[in-house]
Assembly symmetry: C2
DNA sequence: ACGAGTGTTCGACAGACGTCGAACAGGGCG
DNA sequence: CGCCCTGTTCGACGTCTGTCGAACACTCGT
């Protein structure tokens, strides 16, 4: 489980990551909860298989949008809001403003 | 040749449009010149066929990033900066800040 | 009127990527 | 230990889309 830094991420990678609607759903849900509140299993409502979900988490983590931490069997998530916004000003706000 | 309005464009469409590197090149070059200064043929340096280029212009026009106007045989372009920035604050600036 | 230049449209192709199921690894609890 | 739960990995499949060339439409000089 390798974490990418938002500072080293390219705009290409950021746009690729956020151009998927499911990944934007993940980001929005994460933004609506406190840090480290939601394990990956929280997102079962999304209409994709768990293997697909795992793939999406990897993409978000690589681009530096997500930080993950294992606690027992569960993997908790945190949105790296400040760091990501410092690298790509306004981009995260755009996603969070989506209905 | 139908123009889409930035106000009616979805974030999905905007991200799809800007996630292509060639389209971002077009946008950046357009931003570096006055309005209506550049016809489509100006972008021959880009490593794609002219039919591909035409396709990219259509995508940018549909999402409301581009306004086009025929003048004789040539088709001139204008970036809809204000309108697009009003709909997606910061997104265009992000593209223009790219190297 | 002819040819050169500009741009679009069409069909076909190839690569990228989102998707899935099955198999696997590890933790916690009876 | 045995079972359930959580999450990852792997290979395969389908679709979307960027790409091209050829053909077409149109304007402008000569």
């Amino acid at each position: 489980m390798t974490h990418g830094s938002p500072m080293e991420a390219s705009l290409q990678a950021a746009l690729d990551a956020l151009s998927d609607p499911i990944r934007r759903c993940i980001v929005r849900e994460l933004a609506g909860a406190p840090d480290w509140a939601l394990p990956c299993g929280t997102f079962k409502e999304l209409p994709v298989a768990k293997s697909t979900l795992s793939h999406h988490f990897t993409v978000l983590r690589n681009v530096g949008l997500l930080e993950q931490r294992d606690e027992g069997a569960r993997r908790f998530n945190r949105l790296r809001r400040e760091e990501f916004d410092a690298r790509f000003p306004g981009l995260l706000a755009l996603v969070l403003s989506e209905p």
